[in-house]
């Protein structure tokens, strides 16, 4: 069963992967092992594929660096549920195929380490303390996520999904 990792407001990309551990600085094969190394030591070693990150406001603010979500993808993070997201981080996650979903309840309901399950179809995050409702994603983003990211989508369809 996936576990929840709970974070607060304004989690910035320097906390996800500090700039000094950019792939550019340490190599493509290592940068993800520094995920949350300052902010949450031990994260990269203990996180399990499918685990869910839960956050507050403005998750992923700061730099445009895609290696922050790329590190989470490499570690197998199954999705991020936050009150809301910084815009570049949100785009990067959709492009990489990491589900990013807004929820006002999740941060209140979920405790760090709780077993949770993300049910996008039902629009809920199931937690030991009840179900957190998820805000539906725009169909445009849903289509990209369903394909596994924008690269996979474009390879398959040759162009962006319809903007409706």
């Amino acid at each position: 069963m996936p576990r929840a990792w709970v974070f607060g407001d304004d989690l910035d990309t320097d906390q996800i992967v500090p700039g000094r551990y950019a792939p550019f600085m340490v190599g493509q094969d290592k940068f993800h092992t520094y995920a949350f190394c300052d902010a949450r030591p031990g994260f990269a070693k203990t996180v399990q594929p499918g685990d869910i990150l839960v956050g507050g406001e403005n998750f992923g603010c700061g730099s445009s660096r895609e290696y922050a979500p790329a590190a989470l993808k490499k570690l197998g993070v199954g999705g991020i549920v936050a009150k809301n997201f910084a815009r570049i981080f949100f785009r990067n996650c959709v492009n990489l195929g990491i589900p990013v979903i807004e929820s006002t309840d999740a941060i209140r309901l979920v405790g760090d380490g709780d077993e949770v399950s993300l049910d996008m179809a039902a629009g809920v995050l199931r937690t030991p303390h009840g179900e957190a409702r998820l805000r539906p994603l725009a169909p445009f983003a849903q289509e990209i996520l369903a394909a596994g990211g924008v690269v996979a989508y474009l390879r398959e369809h040759g162009d962006f999904p319809s903007t409706g």
Partner: protein
């Protein structure tokens, strides 16, 4: 129905349909900016997309600025790969190490067409709004897609109207003005939005870059200055355009502003922070690394050397700014004052090269970010402010209001410097005392928490 904001106007024009806030549009881009620290991921994205060549080599600008000149063999190798890629693509608009910060060059060399969409691989690509472009920072995959297709998808942003009135007093700059705006709006107050600046169109281009670039620190998708000399006549928001928020700053009553670590929106009047000791001053970045900024520092120093306990690092934002500052003697004056002059580029702003911070060190920076770990050790702290305040800090070793120094006679000036230097006292690192002062100051400010992680362990 109300008329269009600048963002709606531009995105309607480029997408060929009426675009209102909240709509999704596919927009052609007039240019794509790529820089050194993401090139591997961009190339991987292009390969994954099955595209060997970018869609139009004449519309791509490539820069080596983020860690330049290369500080390590790993970085040097990445630069080598980038140069090979640029050659193979046949991209002529390539700026190698030492040419300067991408955003400065994009604007000053005229790569930003007003009224068009430009995407860049750096979050401060908002800077292109200085001349009326819709500039947006994106991640590597978005950039790879834009390079492959010449198009990007955008959600049309709501807009926030910021109006400046009055003229700033001597010693107060547009850096102070934008920090006052960040203080008002907060680091996420403009999330997904476009910040439209009114009353700033006649400012020098450099001041407009400072304004537009700093909108990134409020979470904005773009920041655009209304009514600039570069903008065509049609590029004007409707008088009845609808804004989600309006903020007015009276420049005539504004004090110099400083941001207290580790948040850009923890902003105080400089008078509240007088006496905070500092170890190192960084004058540079796309925000404040132009000749005008360097001249302000050199002028304030009046030929005096910086405090022996303080290092002053100067990194011009582009070769043009570097050469202008050489030609008019500014760099000579800064060097004579004891400054280290770095090659044009991002310098230590993002902690990768050229004077990064040790644990416990306190920096005063003219750049745009003061997050924990931004310029080196996560145990260092960074104050942000204008070049004038930076000059006083370099001179005295402590934060102080620059205005009395600008107005003083030579004797009064030396007395002011001597007093502040004496007050700083200890000769060691500034950290302990400035940490106490920062905590005292924060206690008096509206509640804005340090970027925080629940259950965070302190690692030292």
């Amino acid at each position: 129905m109300t008329g269009p904001t600048l963002a709606e106007l531009i995105l309607s024009r480029v997408s060929g349909r009426e675009a209102r806030a909240g709509d999704l549009v596919i927009a052609p881009v007039s240019r794509v900016m790529v820089h050194d620290s993401v090139i591997d991921a961009v190339m991987a994205g292009l390969t994954a997309l099955g595209k060997e060549k970018v869609w139009d080599t004449s519309k791509v600008c490539v820069f080596v600025d983020h860690a330049a000149p290369a500080p390590t063999p790993v970085v040097a190798d990445s630069h080598r790969v980038l140069r090979e890629w640029v050659r193979a693509q046949g991209i002529a608009t390539f700026y190698d190490a030492g040419e300067g910060v991408c955003h400065q060059i994009m604007v000053e060399e005229g790569y930003c067409e007003p009224g068009t969409v430009i995407v860049g691989s750096d979050s401060h690509s908002n800077s292109y709004g200085a001349v009326g472009s819709f500039g947006a920072g994106m991640g590597a995959t978005d950039i790879a897609v834009a390079l492959a297709l010449g198009r990007t998808w955008l959600r049309v942003p709501e807009s926030i109207k910021v109006t400046f009135t009055g003229a700033p007093r001597r010693g107060v700059t547009m850096k102070d003005a934008i920090m006052r705006v960040v203080r008002e709006i907060g680091t996420d107050g403009a999330r997904y939005a476009c910040v439209e600046f009114h009353g700033a169109g006649d400012l020098p281009q450099g001041d407009r870059i400072t304004l537009a670039g700093m909108t990134t620190e409020m979470g904005a998708k773009a920041g655009i200055v209304v009514g600039t000399a570069e903008a065509p006549e049609w590029l004007r928001p409707a008088a009845d355009a609808s804004y989600v928020r309006e903020v007015t700053v009276d420049l005539s009553t504004l004090e110099p502003q400083i941001a207290i670590p580790p948040r850009v929106d923890q902003v105080a009047d400089v008078s509240e922070a007088v006496g905070i000791p500092v170890d190192i001053v960084f004058l540079g970045s796309c925000t404040n690394g132009r000749v005008v900024d360097m001249r302000q520092v050199a002028d304030l120093l009046r030929g005096r050397r910086v405090d022996p306990r303080v290092r002053l690092e100067v990194v011009p934002s582009s070769r043009r700014q570097f050469e202008d500052a050489m030609a008019d003697g500014t760099l000579g004056r800064l060097s004579a004052a004891g400054a280290v002059i770095g090659s044009s580029g991002c310098g230590p702003c993002l902690g990768r090269t050229g004077g990064v911070l040790a644990a416990e060190e306190v920096c005063f920076s003219t750049a745009n970010r003061n997050y924990k770990g931004r310029m080196g050790s996560p145990a260092a702290s960074i104050y942000l402010g204008s070049p004038y305040v930076a000059a006083v800090v370099a001179l005295t070793g402590v934060i102080d209001d620059p205005r009395p120094y600008l107005e003083a006679s030579d004797d009064e000036f030396d007395a002011l410097v001597a007093r502040r230097r004496a007050e700083r006292g200890d000769r060691g690192a500034a950290s302990a005392r400035s940490g106490d002062r920062a905590r005292e100051l924060l206690a008096t400010m509206p509640v804005r928490f340090e970027p925080q992680v629940v259950g965070m362990e302190v690692e030292d």
